[in-house]
Subunit: 527 residues, 2 copies
C-alpha cells in the first residue's frame, strides 16, 4: 500500500476531531464514572505493563475520532514502511532501523549489501563474546588482572539513554546476582566531568568505551584524549583499555587505538541507539549479555504491539494520539514525565532528548513550513521527590501540563520497612494513585488559596517490577510514541539539523574568526 504524507491540518479527520465535544475531566473522573474509566481505559503492554489513560481528557467519541485520525494519517502503514526498510529519514536519506536491533518486525531489510538484522545480531553476539571474556578474565589489563569498572565516553544519545538504562537496572542487577561491573559515564566537554570521573575510579582496572557513530564528535574525542592522557600518566597502554562503538565507515573503525570495535550504522539515530551496541556494550559489560538480551526481548515484544492497527490495542499509538490531541486541539505546550521509581531518575532526561530532538521541528518532512505546533517540552523528576518540588505549579499554576506517570507494584531491592502500618513501597504507590485523582478531580475550598481546580490530565504506565524486560518495553513504548507523533505531524523525527549552527559558530569562536556580538561574547568568557 502506497502511503501519503500529508500535513495534519489537511486531514479531514483532524478537523472532525477538533469538533468533538470536549470531556469534563472532573465529572468524568468523579464517582462511579471514574471507577469505570480506570477499569476500562487501559491497554495491556508487553512484559506485564499496562497503559492506563482513564485520567486523560478523552471519551469514546474522542477515541473514535483519534482512531479515524490514525487511519487517515496511515500510522500503521507508515510504521510498516519504516520497519520494511523504506527511506523514512528523508532529510538524511536514510532508513530507520533501530527496531531491527531487537527483532524482525517485517520483511528482510537489505542495505549496504547485507541483511541488517543479521548485522545487528552479529554485533550483539560479538559484544556478548567480548563481555563474557572480560567477565571470565580471558580479557584483562596488562597485568592479567580483571577489569572491574566500565566507563562510557559519549554524549547525547551515546550517553543519556545508556546512562538511564544502567541506572534503571543497577539495583535490580545487584539483587538478582547479575551485577558484573560498575559503570560510569563521561559526557560533557567541561573538563571537570572527565577529571572527576577519572579521580573516582581505579583506572588500572577500567575498560573504556568510546562511543561516536561518526567518530568526529568533538566532545567525545576530547574526552578520549583526556582519558588516554590519564592512562599514560598511570603507565598504562591506552589501547589495551579502550574499545570503540562506531560505524564501519568512521575513522575509529579500524584504529589500533582500540582493543576492539563494535559497529552500528547510520540507520540508528543516537537517541534511538540504546538497543544497539551503543547501549549494548556498556550494559552487557555491567550486567552480562543475558540481561541485555532480555532488555531487547522486552523492547521487541512492545514493538510487536505497535503494529496493531486498532488504537485500543496499540498503547504507543494511542499515547501518541492523545498527546497530539492535547498539544494541537487542547493547546497544552509541555508534558511532565513522572516515574515513581528512583531507578528511573534519569529516564525523563533520556525522554527529553528522545522526544524534543525528534519532534522539535517547524518544517514537514519535505522541508515545507507547517502551521501547527509540534513536539512539546518534556521534563520530569521521580516521584515522590517531584511532589515536594514543582507539583505546586502542576496543581495550582495558571497553565495545564499533561502528566505521564510510571509506577511499579514492587521495589527492585525488595528491602523495605513498615512504618505507620504501610511499607515504603506502599506509600510510594499510594502517592501516585492519590496524585492522579488530585490532579483530575481537584477539590473545592472556599479559601481559593487552598482550592484545587482539577481538570489536569494524566496517564499512568503500571508494571510489576522494573526488570530488564519491562525496561525494554517501556523504552520501546516511548520510542514508538514519538515516532507515531512525528507521523501525525508529518515531520521527520529522525534528523536533527537544529544542532548544527551552534557547532559551526563554536568552531569559529575557537578559530577566532568571529565578529560583532560573537566576538564580544568570546571576550566576556575570556576565550
Amino acid at each position: 500500500m502506497m502511503v501519503n504524507w500529508n500535513n495534519l491540518d489537511t486531514l479531514k479527520s483532524y478537523s472532525e476531531l477538533e469538533k468533538v465535544e470536549k470531556v469534563d475531566l472532573i465529572s468524568a473522573m468523579t464517582g462511579e464514572s471514574g471507577a469505570e474509566r480506570v477499569k476500562n481505559y487501559q491497554v495491556p503492554m508487553a512484559c506485564g505493563l499496562s497503559y492506563n489513560y482513564a485520567a486523560k481528557e478523552v471519551d469514546d467519541n474522542i477515541l473514535k475520532a483519534l482512531a479515524n485520525l490514525a487511519d487517515e494519517a496511515q500510522l500503521s502503514e507508515k510504521f510498516e514502511a519504516l520497519y520494511n526498510g523504506e527511506v523514512i529519514n528523508t532529510g538524511e536519506k536514510r532508513l530507520v532501523l533501530h527496531q531491527l536491533t531487537r527483532g524482525q518486525l517485517g520483511d528482510k531489510v537489505m542495505a549496504d549489501g547485507v541483511d541488517k538484522r543479521e548485522f545487528y545480531v552479529n554485533e550483539q553476539k560479538r559484544i556478548a563474546d567480548f563481555a563474557n571474556k572480560v567477565h571470565s578474565g580471558e580479557i584483562t589489563n596488562a597485568k592479567g588482572e580483571k577489569f572491574t569498572t566500565v566507563v562510557q565516553i559519549g554524549i547525547g544519545g551515546s550517553d543519556l539513554g545508556p546512562r538511564a538504562m544502567y541506572l534503571a537496572l543497577e539495583n535490580w542487577a545487584k539483587r538478582t546476582g547479575n551485577f558484573k561491573m560498575e559503570a560510569r559515564f563521561i559526557s560533557n566537554v567541561d573538563p571537570d566531568d572527565a577529571s572527576a570521573v577519572l579521580a573516582g575510579i581505579d583506572v588500572e582496572h577500567s575498560v573504556f568505551i568510546l562511543v561516536s557513530k561518526s567518530g568526529t564528535t568533538l566532545e567525545t574525542l576530547t574526552n578520549e584524549s583526556f582519558v588516554t592522557d590519564a592512562l599514560k600518566k598511570a603507565g598504562l597502554d591506552a589501547s589495551k583499555h579502550m574499545i570503540a562503538v562506531t560505524s564501519q565507515t568512521s575513522p575509529l573503525a579500524k584504529s589500533d587505538r582500540y582493543l576492539e570495535a563494535f559497529f552500528m550504522d547510520d540507520y540508528i539515530g543516537g537517541r534511538y541507539s540504546s538497543t544497539s551496541g551503543v547501549g549494548g556494550a556498556v550494559l552487557s559489560l555491567a550486567f552480562g549479555p543475558e540481561v541485555f538480551a532480555a532488555f531487547l526481548e522486552g523492547a521487541a515484544s512492545e514493538d510487536e504491539l505497535a503494529k496493531q492497527k486498532d488504537i485500543l490495542k496499540n498503547p504507543a499509538m494511542l499515547d501518541a494520539l492523545i498527546g497530539v490531541y492535547e498539544r494541537n486541539v487542547l493547546g497544552y505546550d509541555s508534558t511532565a514525565v513522572l516515574p515513581y521509581s528512583q531507578a528511573l531518575s534519569r529516564f525523563p532526561a533520556h525522554l527529553q532528548q528522545l522526544d524534543m530532538e525528534s519532534n522539535g521541528k517547524s518544517v514537514n518532512r519535505f522541508g515545507e513550513p507547517i502551521d501547527y505546533v509540534t513536539g512539546p517540552i518534556i521534563f520530569g523528576e521521580p516521584g515522590t521527590n517531584g511532589q515536594h518540588s514543582f507539583y505546586q505549579l502542576l496543581h495550582q499554576g495558571t497553565d495545564i501540563i499533561p502528566l505521564q506517570f510510571i509506577g511499579f507494584k514492587n521495589s527492585q531491592l525488595q528491602n523495605d520497612v513498615n512504618i505507620q502500618d504501610s511499607t515504603s513501597q506502599q506509600k510510594l504507590c499510594a502517592n501516585v494513585a492519590a496524585q492522579i485523582v488530585a490532579f483530575a478531580c481537584g477539590k473545592k475550598d472556599e479559601n481559593l488559596n487552598k482550592n484545587f481546580k482539577g481538570g489536569r490530565p494524566s496517564s499512568i504506565i503500571v508494571g510489576d517490577e522494573l526488570d530488564p524486560k519491562a525496561l525494554g518495553a517501556l523504552l520501546s513504548h516511548f520510542e514508538n510514541k514519538v515516532m507515531f507523533q512525528g507521523f501525525v505531524w508529518n515531520i521527520n523525527s529522525f534528523d536533527q539539523e537544529g544542532v548544527q549552527l551552534g557547532k559551526v559558530l563554536a568552531k569559529k569562536v575557537l578559530a577566532h574568526e568571529t565578529d560583532g556580538a560573537l566576538t564580544e561574547y568570546a571576550k566576556l568568557l575570556a576565550i
Copy 2:
C-alpha cells in the same frame, strides 16, 4: 512608606509596557549593534559575576517601561518590608527571613521574643562547632573512630538545594584542600533510594542528618526508620550517628534519638533554606564551616545588590522584570536554565523547585483569582550535554523558550587537555558564546530544514570560577529574582498549598478509605 499590593493588570505601567514597540532580536543582535549590546547590556553582580542580557528582547525603551513597572509595583519597598520583618507570607501569616541567615539587610528583626539574626548566627556557630569536632575527631562513632561520610535525609527543599550546592562545590573543595567528608542524600520514599545509598556507604563511619522543619514529613520519617534499622542491624547505636535539623517546636527538637539538634524556623521556606542549617549542617561537615561561611558571604553580597532601586544596578530585579515581560507580554510559557558547568548539574532541579513552587499560583496574595499567567515551567541540563539533547527543539521547535545560560571562565579542577589548539574549558566557553548568537540571530538557509529562524532570547551569568562565594551569589540572585516576580504578580511566593491535597489522598489510600477512581487506582497498583 506604606506599600500597596495590586494585581499586575491594574498597573498603569503594565499597560504602558504592553504598548512599547517590540524588539527585533535578530537585527538588534546583528553586526555592530549586537557588539554594543553585549558590551552595554550588562549588570555587575557580586563576587565577580555579571548578568548580561544583550540577547533578551529588550531595548532602552522597554527597559524604561520595566523601570516604571518596578516603581509602580514598589518592588524595592516590598523587599524592604520583607527584610525588615513584615508578614509577607500572608497565607501562613509568617515573616520571610531566609536573607537574614546570611546578613542583616535592614532593621533588627524580632520574632518569637528573639533577635532572629542572632538566632541564625548562633545556630550557624553551633553547627560550625559540631562540624569542627567531627573533623578533629572529638565527636566520633562508638569505637572512637572518625566519621568519614555524611548522609542528609530530607526531601524537597531539604534535599534539592543542599544536594545541588554540595555537587557544585565538591570538585572545587577537592582541588583546594577543603574536602572533609563525602556527602550522600536520601530523599525518595521509594525504598530503593535509601537501600542503595546505605549499601554504598560505610555505615559505621557515617553521620546522618535528619532534616524536617515540621518533624512530620512522611518520606523523611520513613527514611529515618530505614536508616535506624540499618544501624541497628550493624550493631550500632543510632542515636550516636544522627543529628536533626528542625524547628524548635518540632517533635524532633528535644528527642534523645539524636546526637544533637540544630534549628531553623517557620520563617524560612524549605526551598529557601540552603543558607540555613538545612544546607549548613551538610555543607559544613562536607567542606568545613569556613567554606559554608564564604557561601553565605557571597549570598549576602548579592542580597545587598537586590536593595538597589535602579533596575540597571539590580540584576535580580532586572532579570525578574525581563522574565515577567517574556511571560505576560510576549507569551512565553517556560524558561530553560542551562549552566555550562558540570558542577551545576543539579542546579536546574533546585531552581525548578524554587521557581515553580514559589510562583506556580493562580490566586493573588489575598486569595483572589487573577487573570494573568504567573510562574513558568523551569527545566534544564548542563551544556554542552543539552546541546546534544533538547536544543534541537529550542532552535527549530514551534515554540519560543527563553534561555538562562550560566558560564565560568575557569574550570574547578583546573585539569585540562589541549586538543585541536584549544582546551576543553575553551571549547565549553566557545559553545555557550556560539549558542547565544545562534539562538538570537539564527541563520537563513534555502533548505528550510537547515534554516534557523533566530529571535530566541537568552541571558547569561558569567563568572571567573564557581567557588563558594560565587555559588552563594548565584543562589541569592535566583531566590531574589523569584521573589521580585512574585511581587510583580502580586502572589504569595512563600506558601505551597498546592502540595496538600495529594498528601491527604495518599493517607486515605493507605488507610483504605477511598471510593470511586481512587479505589481502582489503588487496586491497579496493588496497594
